[in-house]
């Protein structure tokens, strides 16, 4: 089946573009970058159909051994790739959406500097993401995990000339470190207790283990894994990096920070669901974390003015939904939502990118408006995405979200109500963004603010006329496809597809749950329409009447400031005072210098032997060899 080919193709793209990209022409770079991803998508399709995934096959995990990586003592870690139905879904999402976004990026990045660098990073990301998804053991998963983290760092800081971009990159990286730390610990625990890191063997062992005896172990592992997941999937308390990550180019935000990478945490928890299921209350924590995140992020999203920020917070909140789904035991629903979210959130981001592109780099919604006559295609597609996320009936978002909410109701009714409220807010702020962008009249300052928010566009903004313009076909065609997916994606019955892995919920949930959720969504849409189309003056008055609350939300609950005060400052001071002044300058430097001086002294003695005459060297060699031969000879003679 050559599973290894799936990740290796993007890797080839990365190598080609990364090594020779400077000398390649743009068409060549496009061909390599897009071609590799598309090819790997096709290969995924071929493999899956070969495994019968589309025709009810692939009940069992199909595993392929590539080579043995680490072989030490009893520990035996090999690079295996495995496909089960979960992986199949992830593969389709990653490669499919990835391919679309690559195509989109060709148009979006057309005028950027570091073109080849961008696509090289993107391909590298695809490689690691596929490794993450395909990996058949914890270590491989971790490799992919770190790899995508690296790529996200590189791509967030893509405009590395801009301070805030690099800062955002560092932030993402450091925050993720915390999560990865937990993940690593979890892996150590697993390896320590099961003697192997291979998923199948570990889970097989778990099935036979007494639950109550080892509950503590499972709880520890699952909580540590959760820490990792919160880091990667931007859950409370580690969500702070994601909004800043919007400093990267929009396709990156769409691919990495909406569709694929941030869902890695969800995937990981679903993958290790066995461990969670055997822990008494780890899942509840997952659910609570998810719910809180969903709610908080949604509230923050209400008041953001940067269109990408809005979608970023909505991403966080949707991820929260997925966690809720996982936490209440509806893993398949979580994965389902993961997929649909990949569709409509990618769509939203790409649409936002198209809008930004149209406004020559403007990201602040207050400077947009009335764009519907300029960029109809973008508007329509964005409308589809917004409806989908708002849970409009029969659309993809609704399908998955309702499943999650129903499962939440089964689990604990209050979770359901919070979820419904959050859904309402989601609908509200998404359509707020939509209306602000497309309705009203155009408020963009002509030829102003060119790329001062999205500096990469500084170059290309000036090349365009200042009135908004529709994006090229290479950009809106992926939009259309994604729009179609987010409309119809709900009818792909993922839960049924995943039943072999995650048995379906027993019992038919009450119908009214769906109605209430849908109603909440529609209500949100209505309120948004009322606020931003009918009487645009209403929001200001509202904000002024609830100033404190508004500021709290507007400043994202001051979480960043809080973290700065509590975590960052102490660490910085500690390292400066203690580590730098004391440890580094005194101890380490002192030792290094001491070694240096000693070496110089000895050398000063030894250099007398260096006469510079080849002959004398040869004489030394001769003497030495004579001694050696004498020694050997005597030894030999002795025997």
């Amino acid at each position: 089946m050559q599973l290894w080919l799936i990740p290796v193709l993007p890797l080839l793209g990365f190598l080609l573009n990364g090594l020779f990209g400077k000398r390649l022409s743009k068409p060549a770079i496009n061909a390599i970058a897009v071609g590799s991803v598309v090819m790997s998508f096709l290969w995924v399709v071929k493999t899956l159909s070969g495994l019968g995934a589309f025709s009810g096959g692939l009940e069992e995990t199909y595993k392929e051994h590539t080579y043995t990586w680490i072989q030490s003592g009893t520990l035996n870690i090999s690079v295996d790739f495995a496909i089960d139905r979960l992986t199949a879904v992830m593969l389709m999402v990653v490669t499919g959406v990835g391919a679309l976004i690559h195509i989109y990026a060709v148009g979006y990045m057309a005028h950027e500097g570091g073109y080849y660098r961008f696509f090289a990073y993107l391909n590298l990301f695809m490689f690691f993401m596929l490794i993450l998804v395909l990996g058949a053991n914890f270590l491989l998963l971790f490799v992919g995990w770190e790899g995508v983290g690296l790529c996200s760092y590189l791509l967030i800081g893509f405009y590395f000339l801009e301070k805030f971009a690099t800062d955002a990159g560092n932030k993402a990286f450091i925050v993720n470190r915390i999560g990865d730390f937990g993940f690593a610990l979890a892996i150590f625990l697993v390896g320590n207790h099961f003697g192997t890191l291979d998923f199948q063997t570990v889970f097989a062992q778990i099935k036979t283990m007494p639950v109550e005896a080892s509950a503590g172990l499972f709880t520890a592992i699952s909580l540590l894994l959760l820490v990792g997941a919160t880091g990667k999937s931007a859950q409370i308390p580690l969500y702070v990096w994601l909004p800043d990550a919007m400093a990267g180019p929009t396709p990156v935000s769409a691919l990495i920070h909406a569709a694929t990478m941030v869902t890695a945490g969800v995937y990981m928890i679903a993958r290790t669901s066995q461990i969670y299921l055997h822990s008494p209350w780890a899942l509840d924590i997952v659910a609570i974390v998810g719910l809180t995140t969903a709610f908080v992020a949604a509230t923050i999203g209400l008041a953001q003015n940067d269109i990408k920020k809005v979608f970023a917070y909505s991403t966080v909140s949707q991820l929260g939904y997925m966690f809720v789904g996982l936490g209440v035991g509806a893993f398949s629903a979580g994965i389902f939502h993961l997929m649909t979210h990949a569709f409509f959130k990618a769509l939203l981001f790409l649409g936002a990118g198209s809008v930004i592109h149209a406004c020559s780099g403007e990201q602040d919604m207050r400077h947009m408006g009335g764009l519907r006559k300029y960029i109809p295609i973008t508007m329509v597609t964005l409308l589809c995405g917004s409806l989908a996320i708002a849970g409009f009936p029969f659309l993809s978002g609704a399908a998955s979200k309702d499943l999650i909410l129903e499962a939440a109701y089964e689990h604990a009714p209050w979770m359901y109500w919070v979820g419904v409220f959050t859904a309402g807010m989601t609908a509200f702020y998404v359509f707020r963004a939509f209306f602000l962008t497309f309705f009203g009249e155009y408020k963009g300052k002509p030829a102003s603010g060119h790329g001062h928010d999205d500096p990469g566009h500084g170059s290309h903004g000036s090349t365009h006329e200042s009135t908004p313009h529709e994006s090229p076909a290479v950009m809106w065609i992926p939009l259309v496809i994604l729009a179609a997916l987010s409309l119809g994606g709900g009818f792909i019955n993922i839960p049924h597809f995943l039943e072999p892995l995650f048995p379906a919920q027993e019992g038919e949930p009450a119908r009214w749950l769906e109605y209430v959720a849908t109603a909440a969504g529609l209500a949100g849409i209505g309120i948004a329409y009322l606020f931003y189309v009918v009487s645009p003056s209403l929001p200001e008055s509202l904000a002024s009447s609830f100033t404190g609350l508004y500021n709290l939300i507007y400043n994202k609950y001051f979480v960043d400031e809080f973290y700065d005060a509590t975590v960052v400052e102490p660490v910085v001071d500690g390292s400066r005072q203690l580590l730098w002044r004391m440890a580094d300058m005194r101890v380490i430097d002192g030792a290094a210098n001491g070694i240096g001086t000693t070496a110089r002294g000895i050398g000063g003695i030894l250099r007398r032997a260096q006469s510079g005459y080849i002959r004398s060297y040869a004489a030394w060699i001769l003497a030495g060899s004579i001694l050696a031969i004498a020694y050997i000879g005597f030894m030999g003679a002795a025997r």
Partner: protein
């Protein structure tokens, strides 16, 4: 070595001893001579001595490998001669001398 009436055929160890003698001569030349070319030739002499012992061993063990090794030694010697003589030419071009001790820039 046992002296006395010369046997009809000599044991292989004599060949080895001969190669040792030649090697020693090579070393001597390397140590005593000052002309780069001669020094170089002394090295070649040592290589030849080693070859002789290789061939002798392959006679003793009745295996062809020794010949292969000496063949490789020859090839390497050829390459070495090409490069070394080129170097000598350049040295001479730059310093108008072949005295090995006057080419001791390594010193100090």
């Amino acid at each position: 070595m046992p002296f006395g009436p010369l046997p009809a055929a000599v044991p292989p160890s004599w060949y080895l001893t001969l190669s040792a003698i030649l090697f020693a001569l090579g070393v001597l030349g390397f140590l005593l001579r000052r002309n780069i070319i001669t020094v170089f030739m002394s090295i070649e002499l040592m290589l030849n001595a080693v070859n002789l012992s290789f061939v002798t061993f392959s006679y003793v063990l009745k295996r062809v490998d020794g010949h292969i090794f000496s063949f490789f030694v020859m090839v390497v010697a050829a390459a070495e001669a090409a490069v070394g003589l080129a170097i000598i030419l350049t040295v001479f071009k730059n310093r108008q001398t072949l005295e090995i001790d006057e080419v001791s820039t390594l010193k100090n």
